[in-house]
């Protein structure tokens, strides 16, 4: 199994599509894996742990049908193999309460979904610059 660079959980297929485009525009060699709901995400995360494949970054949509982004975050932090992966919560909400609880649950960052494609590309750019370059530095 190919190790994804970014593992993204997003139920909105439109936004998933935008993300796909944006990521490719930022760097077309980046490998993005997207799943649509919490249960599927859980299965995938389990597989990562078993096959010892570690994504470089996990993006979680906060509001998911069924299991929420916070539930997944907690799940990730409970699995020793996965718990060191940077996790970013990604949501349309800019409610301070959501931000606060995400950080409390152990998110590395909280991002409000950018408005429009151009802003999204900018956002992915900076995420890539920060997390991937840092990742490289750490290695």
């Amino acid at each position: 199994m190919k190790t994804p660079d970014i593992f993204y959980v997003e139920d909105d297929i439109d936004y998933a599509f935008f993300m796909q485009s944006a990521v490719q525009e930022v760097k077309d060699t980046l490998n993005l894996t997207i799943v649509e709901d919490g249960t599927e995400a859980m299965v995938k995360l389990q597989q990562f742990a078993e096959s010892k494949t570690k994504p470089k970054l996990i993006l979680l949509d906060l509001n998911l049908p069924g299991l929420s982004g916070l539930d997944l975050l907690k799940f990730i932090r409970d699995i020793p193999y996965l718990k060191s992966i940077p996790v970013i919560l990604f949501s349309t909400s800019d409610n301070p309460d959501d931000v606060k609880s995400s950080i409390e649950f152990g998110a590395n960052a909280y991002l409000t979904k950018p408005d429009g494609y151009d802003n999204l590309v900018k956002c992915v750019h900076s995420v890539h610059d920060f997390w991937f370059n840092q990742h490289l530095r750490m290695n």
Partner: protein, 737 residues
Amino acid sequence: MTTFSVDLTNCDREPIHIPGKVQSHGFLIAVDKIDFLIAYISENTNLFVKTSAGNLLGKPLSTINAFLDQLAPEFNIEDLLRLGIIRKSFDAISPHPVIINKNQYYITIADSGNNFLLEFEPATLQYDLQSVIGRSASGMLQGKSVSSLLKGAAVEVKKLIDYDRVMIYKFLDEGHGEVVAEQMNEDLEPFFGLHYPASDIPKQARELYKLNLTRLIADVNKEDSPIITFLENKPLDLTNSGLRAVSPIHIQYLKNMGVCSSFSISLISHGELWGLIACHNYSPKFIDYKAREGAKLIGQILSSALEYRQDAEDSEMVDQFKDIATALTEQLNRDKYLIEAITGHKKTILDVTKATGAAILFENNLKTIGTVPADEDILELAEWLKQTNDESVYYTHRLSEIHSPARKYKRIASGILVCTISKELGEMIIWFKPELISTVTWAGNPDKPATPEENGLLSLSPRKSFEAWSEEVNNTSEKWLPEEIASVLRIREIIITDVNKKANEIRQLNEKLQSAYEELDTFSYTISHDLRTPLTSVKTYAELLLRNKSLDDSARKMLGRILTGADKMNFLIKEILNLARVGRSEITFETVNMQLLLNEVATEVWSAFKADKAELILGQMPDINGDKTMIAQVFTNLVSNAVKYSSTVEKPTIEISSYIDGKEIVYTVKDNGMGIDNRYYDRVFELFKRMDNVKEIEGTGVGLAIVKRVVERYNGRVWFESKLNVGSTFYVAFKNI
């Protein structure tokens, strides 16, 4: 013989039942109950029989038989007496006709202590009265109301006894009386409506009127005849005597009035002396026993009719009050506001009693109907009542004597009836009755003039003038009737039930409103949130499409329009989210550095609107307590508005300042822009409300709604002053804590 001299100090104790005299149109014999010996006899007996009174004194009653022309040979006056004794009543045998010296007389027998009274009086009536009385009674009873009944009675009695004047005299409070009906010869001056003081008919006289239902004084100018006896210090009790002589004071009183004969019939209602049928004749006039009995019967019929009619009128009044109560209940159920419900319709709270004015103090309002004192006097009275009155219903008919400030409006309100709705809040209803001053016209000066005698003692002389004499009965209103008080208690119950019901309704409405508000906040929040996701898709797809180099200009233009629309919508959603958040978030208090905050806000606003030409003037900016984000929201909106709506003038000036007013810190944001039409004053803070003159300027109509919500959550106030084309000043007052 009794000698009792009457003066002012004892006139109400004059022993009129033992005068020692009889009227001289008849004669009286009293026999001992045991031996039937003549113990007392009137001196004038010799004018009727052929022997002197002295000769008969001490003799057996049977002696009298010798002077009677026998109607039946076996007649014996002692047998007549015994018959009465056996029957235990003399009613059936009185009057007994006898003939003395060929003249007809009636004997009537009555009880008096140890003696029997035998009275002889002339029988003058030659025909049977029965049918006349029957017609009189039915004529009288045709009257439906009490007043027509009384008038009818006066007419019928006058027909029966043919006196010059027949009056119906009614006893009012405290013993004085009023002529309430009258029938008289046309040449006489009417007494109708006149009042007579209580002293005109003293208390013990009123008691006698209850025992002797008729009373004849045949001729005031005829000398009375003394009663002689051998018994020392045992005056004969003449309570039950028809011939009983009249008090010299009363004789004088009648003489002063020019009356020669007087006849009265007692009217008894519910066991009390209701009044009299008082008959005056201006020449001597004797009334035959049977005519007197006929008049008595009419009096009794009138008494019971009065009792019935008065009860009927009372219950009619009660029914009327109940009808009013029912009407008011309906009005209260239908109307939203209590005052409107009980004063705004045809039937009002004033109709609950016979008052002439009413005042309602409720929810800090004063509403009056009818004739009432000035508002400030009512408020003063209400305050006094609040302090001193613990009763749910309080009433007096002499207010100014209890509460001296009431003196100045005693003409309007000498009587008050107060019903408390809430003691704590001083809520009450007050009914007013005027002073009775104008309604009392006395027959002559009611104060009995006391004239000094030669010996220096005051002596009583009944007044001589009976010309109408008005007297001011001060400080007193008509009394409150038990029916009125019952009616007020009934209304109080209805009002209190209604007040409680409405309070409950308001409380429930409040709870509903609150939960509706919360729901609305949640709803707004959720819906805005959910709207943003598809909106983002729209926008993003449009942007993606724009990257396609093969598109022509018109397609690009349309995509641009889609983006503009999406941005506008996004902004609106953000604003609604902000508004919803005001209701959802917890209230926190921290010290907000206003200088810092306002500078940040200004910088942000100036750059957002590119307001380079606008001048900003900052005044005093003391710190306030609140949530920094929310306060920032308030000022961002106010300052944005100021900048936006002054952008059309040549030199926009925005001034932010503050002042301290008591317990409030008031911030002002002033501009010199286009201003707000005052007609829309109340609508400015409404959600999505934008004025006609600002169509050109971008806005959502949410900003000031947010300002108002935030300020109100902090128990503050927001308002504005504005003039079209001059500018607006918005004021925000925060509690200074």
